[in-house]
């Protein structure tokens, strides 16, 4: 039995301790907004916040997050009202949309740490893969949250 805190709620679960957090979220808690893309922390589709730090949940065993505040895409807001979600809607960022939960979680963490990220800050923080190629609109949406007009340097 493990006890984890996700989006402010505690859950007690029967689960093997080596199960990656991603699969606990998806298969035990039915929080399917967090996506499986690679399983090796390469693509970022599974990004969640652990005590506010963007983390790749596919490669973190549930045993490592027992004392941690876990926030998933579902926990950002109940009504798509988080400023980053609003920016994503305004810039019409998603195409297939599969990677966007992870992109948004990475962007939220970046903007919480750095309210006015430069293009190179975005390059460094936003290492999530998007195969549809929504990168330009992601950059634009992040800048629009920061309320700074950015240009690629």
């Amino acid at each position: 039995m493990v006890r984890i805190k996700v989006n402010g709620e505690f859950h007690e679960l029967e689960v093997e301790l080596d199960t990656p957090l991603l699969w606990v979220l998806r298969d035990h808690l039915n929080l399917t907004g967090t996506k499986y893309g690679c399983g090796i922390a390469q693509c970022g589709a599974c990004t969640v916040h652990l005590n506010g730090t963007p983390s790749r949940s596919c490669s973190i065993p549930v045993s490592g997050v027992l004392q941690v505040d876990i926030v998933t895409i579902e926990g950002l807001s109940s009504d798509k009202s988080h400023p980053v979600q609003k920016a994503w809607i305004k810039e019409d960022v998603p195409q297939c949309g599969y990677c966007q939960s992870g992109q948004i979680m990475a962007a939220v963490a970046l903007l919480e740490k750095n309210q006015n990220p430069s293009d190179s800050d975005i390059d460094n923080a936003m290492t999530n893969i998007c195969r549809c190629g929504t990168y330009t609109r992601i950059r634009k949406a992040i800048h629009s949250v920061a309320n700074v007009s950015g240009s690629k340097t």
């Binding site: 093997e16 199960t19 990656p20 699969w23 998806r26 298969d27 035990h28 039915n30 929080l31 399917t32 907004g33 967090t34 996506k35 499986y36 893309g37 690679c38 399983g39 090796i40 390469q42 693509c43 589709a45 998933t72 895409i73 579902e74 950002l76 807001s77 798509k80 979600q85 994503w88 809607i89 019409d92 960022v93 998603p94 195409q95 297939c96 949309g97 599969y98 990677c99 966007q100 939960s101 948004i104 975005i122 390059d123 460094n124 936003m126 290492t127 999530n128 893969i129 998007c130 195969r131 549809c132 190629g133 929504t134 990168y135 330009t136 609109r137 992601i138 950059r139 690629k152």
Partner: protein, 717 residues
Amino acid sequence: MEKLSRRHFLKSSATVAGGMMISFHIPAQDPSQETMIGPVAPMTTSELNAWLTIDPDNTITIRVAQSEMGQGVLTALPMIIADELEADWRDVRAEHADVNRSIRQAGVYKRMLTGGSGAVRISRPYLQQAGAEAREKLIKAAAETWGVSPQECHADYGKVHHKATRRSVTYGEVAGLAAQLSVANVKIKSPEDFSLIGLPKPRLDTPEKVDGSAIFGMDVRLDNMAYAAVQHCPVLGGRVRSFRFNAIRNMPGVILAVRFDNGIAVVAETWWQANKAAKALPIQWTIGDEGKTHSETFRNEYLAALGTQGTSVLKQGETLPALEVSEKIIESDYLVPYLAHASMEPLNCTAHRTDEGLSLWLGTQDPESALNAASKLAGVAPEKVQLTNCLLGGGFGRRAHTDIVEEAVQIAMEIDRPVQLIWSREEDMRSGRYRPMAAMRFKAGFDLEKQVVAYTNHSVTHSILRDLGAPVDNGIDPTSVEGLSNMPYEFSPKSITHTIKNTHLSSYWWRSVGSSQNAFAMECFIDEMAEAATTDPILFRKQYLANRPDLLEVLEELRQKSDWNKRLPPGTARGVALHECFGTIAAQVAEVSVNNGKADVHRIVSVVNCGNLVNPAIAEAQIESGIIYGLSAALYGKITIEKGRVLEDNFDTYHVIQQSEVPIMETHWLLSGGDKWGGLGEPGLPCVAPAIVNALHKITKRRIRSLPISDYYLQRA
């Protein structure tokens, strides 16, 4: 029945009269449906035809027969219908059309395949017709209610108006009656009357994609669902000889194993448990000579095959004597590797065999083939197979195949629970269906005035159609020579030949198909020809396109928009490429420099003529999407074979570009209008590699004739 979406049950009780339009037959409501779903509340939702329903609160639900995989069909296709319908766009919702209904009702949704950049290109006319027909029914219903002639009424923004008496009624108020009427000889609008087509409307599917609520195939959750993972033979074509289930039987959650010809699926309570057990399962394989192959062997074999005669695809005049008297001859061989699709969402399919039939949930580009394949395997009549087409986490061609469905159904036949099969990323990438490998040889002869006097091309390509069992007995797979056989340059005489050469790998449609490799080789060789003729690459192309004013216009626009003749800093260069596919002309200039041995792509300027645009914002995103997908392939994409095994199995070895590598992208439209409605999902891709490679030549003075570019250590000359 499983928990299907609420809409799945909400079928109208209204009867729709059929057959009012040429080739637009709307069959009557299937009575069997009502027995299946029980009594329906009268007139809650009114179905005006198979494509749309209207609720009393004016909500319009439009069914979309193409699959949403990022390209925007859940927005663009409803815009086409809603424009004719004179709907208030704020009332419009979209959902995937029901393939089971299309199968039961004689193909009511016509083409349900998503591919060939065909959503707008192919379905626009009949979608307009469907919207117009519904509009006329609503007008007729309002007119009947008022006791006036329909000719005195008109529709706009979701209402019908009778101007003379200043009366109006909402669609929701008359939809119930309208659904029972029939109309004939409905005309669609003239383009100048479009009210929605051409506007950059926000995508309807964006809100659900920012909070995790969008349901992709992998997100389907059913009561009592089990999960399955699979271990395929590491060598494609290899077979299971034996396996020891006892070795994993006691691992947590494990339920059973299901044997396929080429692998074993393990079913467990969660996917993590299933995948862990599948990886641990000891399997003995039977592997033939394909286990001795290497990429290097393939390359040598393909290059050797270039020297054979091949099958003639096109012959104009006699090239041999023309080459013999040429003042100068250039000859080059090009080579491209197999490529994986690497959609963000690994392949998956959920299946449940019940007493009533079979239910499937997945994101598929070809729901009809998926349904029929499942029906055949399960021995269940097609009309008893329900398929919920979820959102697709990328498709790029890969999700048209039925392999994942067939495996899921085989598992579902063995267990009395719904099962969700997910291929791990490694299985997804290693298990085949690649963009074909190809080699191409080009030869051109020039006279004393540096005019082209002969042109030959021989391609050796892994045939997709042969892999699919389609007839290619004449030695030509037309999809392999797209862009080569119909190349637009007027070289004469010319000879185009082809050789099919398949390996043990399997190939499949990959974004832009033949154009993805052929535009690279062709447009790079055109640059070599321009160099041989000591002519500017854009001027050289124009010189041989005199009979194609549409291509000339695109090139000229590109010359201007790309600042072609403006100086660049030392070490930076521009390269150009031009290609036409799926009814659309696209030309691109790439601005590139070389840093630390690698290509750095700064800017890609595109000029595109697809005739007309439905939604410019989505269209621009599609061109950029094609560029990014093409850029990953050009810079990094390759599948490598060692001892018959695919080495790249995840994003650490199969590199794709990230945010930091994205160039500035400028897309300019040069729309010729008229009846041209070209596709946009694919045409942004083919020019990327050749434009970059042609620019790199100016910097390095060396020709790159194979991909990916990252195989080369680049140096400024």
